[in-house]
């Protein structure tokens, strides 16, 4: 569904991303794991068409159902963004304008993509319920929501717009671990129900291994290892992957309960 080939991103003379290939299918979750400077976020922005706006130069091919996205006009991109490709960020504030009530932003996004007023309200309420939030929360301002709630609203917007591809950039990194568990649960259920194609970017290998089917490990702008999660976890081939796995602090698993 989403095909990335020879994607290169430059800031001036410096190349920050050099991804040879990346594929994403309907109903599938692909994870991109890397540390700071690995280029994982920039890759996501490039795919979403946001890179030129940040002053970066993008080359290569990103095809959505065969249609080339690199080099598309702003108008065509705006159509695709939100409706076919949706993105959620680490800080939900990025998607929620603090001056407006959450519902206003939500409805405006829906109407921008063609829904009528009544229909938009319906879809928004439905989307909120699908992320286990009461539609009443739409009356609140973003600062009146908790981190977890705000993130769920961002997910709800992506769902309401009936996006087919969801790009999630560190969506749970800023959240408490118990809240993270809830959000990941929501994402997993949603993906199953809507057959979303999800690109999940994170520095947390443990989270990615839980929610993703395949994973791509990035280092210094390149994909150094890719494959199904089970393979990568248990039989890592690249030394950097092994270093990453070794570095994750692990909790001792409880042995048989004591008498």
């Amino acid at each position: 569904m989403l095909e990335v080939r020879d994607l290169g991103v430059w800031f001036g003379d410096r190349q920050v991303v050099g991804v040879d290939a990346l594929d994403l299918d309907k109903g599938q979750t692909v994870g991109i794991v890397g540390e700071t400077g690995s280029g994982k976020s920039m890759t996501a922005y490039a795919i979403a068409g946001l890179a030129p706006g940040m002053g970066a130069r993008v080359e290569g091919s990103v095809k959505l159902d065969g249609r080339e996205l690199i080099g598309l006009s702003d108008g065509a991109l705006r159509d695709i963004r939100g409706r076919r490709i949706a993105m959620i960020f680490q800080a939900p504030i990025s998607s929620l304008n603090p001056v407006f009530r959450v519902g206003d932003v939500f409805l405006r996004a829906l109407r921008l993509h063609g829904a009528s007023k009544a229909n938009a309200r319906e879809r928004a309420a439905e989307a909120m319920r699908s992320v286990a939030l009461s539609p009443d929360l739409l009356h609140r301002y973003p600062h009146q929501l908790s981190g977890g709630q705000a993130q769920r609203v961002a997910i709800a917007m992506a769902v309401a717009l009936r996006a087919e591809v969801l790009i999630a950039d560190e969506p749970t990194s800023a959240l408490d671990v118990t809240v993270q568990a809830e959000i990941l649960d929501v994402l997993e259920k949603l993906q199953a129900e809507e057959s979303l194609a999800m690109l999940f970017i994170s520095h947390d290998l443990a989270v990615v291994s839980g929610i993703c089917d395949t994973v791509a490990i990035m280092y210094d702008g390149e994909v150094v290892e890719r494959g199904p999660v089970s393979e990568t976890l248990h039989h890592p081939s690249h030394p950097y992957t092994r270093e990453l796995l070794a570095a994750v602090p692990r909790l001792t698993t409880p042995e048989a309960p004591d008498a």
Partner: protein, 314 residues
């Protein structure tokens, strides 16, 4: 060595720390403070180093009182506890080179005489895994991990009895984090260090601490041996925390708390603060605050601790 008794800290109407009692013996020793946002763990750390003043309660190190100390004792107290902060980008003065930054610590407490300062700086730098040349660098010329090492060196310079480590590696990449944690473990052995490790990461705490206290909305809900509490938790919150931690496996952690409005620290639930989200909550939990008692070899503040323990043994 460190004793915190019934500590209460308020930020305006919010009670950030509500009657916490804990202690750390002389080194080598590590106590972990585990909790999520709003738990009060950072506030406790700040109170111990006198960055925040408590509304009531006592903090003493080797008998020296943190808040009722007389002039001379205050200086001695400051020498006995130090802190390392979370954010490597703001933990060092961007305009001060590493050498002078560490020397500043030496100067503050006349740890050694002036002539010995340069040597001591080099010794401290090597102790934290850096080189003598790093003394001439400015913070922006160092990586995040290196800056945290300098922060640790600065804290060690005054030879404190206790160091409060406030999420020292949370802002670092995981490979860098592993090395800094190794450093802390190493220093603990070499210098008989005692520390209070504040972290939201259970695995990190388990690796570095023998004892742990789990905090929820300003109160200690479970406290005891780290190995025991973190691998076989009893309190429903600790259990939820433990199950929520993602492991390197192909399954996702199952959310273990009831869906409820996230707690408002300014208006906490009555009785047991965890009751709106607790799968084991009963009427008593809604009205009566549970006090810590010994269950399963550790202290648990829960009315249904025995039932919870039985569930884990399942």
């Amino acid at each position: 060595m460190l004793e915190v008794r019934d500590l209460v800290v308020r930020y305006g109407p919010v009670v950030a720390v509500d009657g916490v009692t804990l202690g750390v013996p002389a080194g080598p020793a590590g106590l972990g403070l585990v909790g999520e946002s709003g738990s009060g763990k950072t506030t406790i750390g700040r109170a111990i180093v006198r960055l925040t003043e408590p509304a009531s309660g006592e903090v003493t190190v080797d008998g020296l009182n943190a808040f009722n100390a007389k002039r001379g004792d205050l200086k001695a107290y400051r020498k006995s506890v130090q802190i390392v902060f979370q954010d490597p980008d703001s933990t060092l003065d961007p305009r001060m080179r590493v050498g002078p930054a560490i020397t500043e610590a030496l100067r503050a407490h006349a740890v050694v005489e002036r002539s010995a300062w340069p040597d001591r700086v080099t010794e401290l730098l090597t102790a934290v895994g850096l080189q003598a040349e790093h003394a001439d660098r400015l913070p922006h010329q160092l990586s995040g991990g290196q800056r945290q090492r300098v922060a640790i060196a600065r804290a060690l310079a005054v030879e404190p009895r206790l160091i409060v480590l406030d999420e020292p590696t949370s802002a670092l990449d995981v490979t860098v984090q592993a090395r800094v944690l190794e450093l802390i473990a190493g220093l603990r052995e070499e210098r008989s260090l005692a520390y209070l490790l504040i972290s939201h990461n259970l695995a990190v705490v388990e690796h570095l601490c023998e004892q742990v206290a789990v905090l929820y909305l300003g109160q200690v809900v479970e406290q005891g041996e780290a190995a025991r509490v973190l691998t076989r938790p009893v309190h429903p919150y600790t259990r939820a925390l433990r199950t929520a931690v993602p492991e390197l496996s192909e399954t996702l952690p199952a959310p273990a708390t009831k869906r409820a409005e996230p707690p408002n620290p300014a208006d906490p639930p009555p009785g047991c603060r965890f009751h709106p989200r607790c799968p084991l909550a009963v009427d008593r939990c809604r009205s009566e605050r549970p006090l810590p008692r010994e269950v399963g070899g550790r202290l648990v503040a829960c009315h249904r601790a025995e039932d919870s323990l039985a569930e884990t043994r399942g």
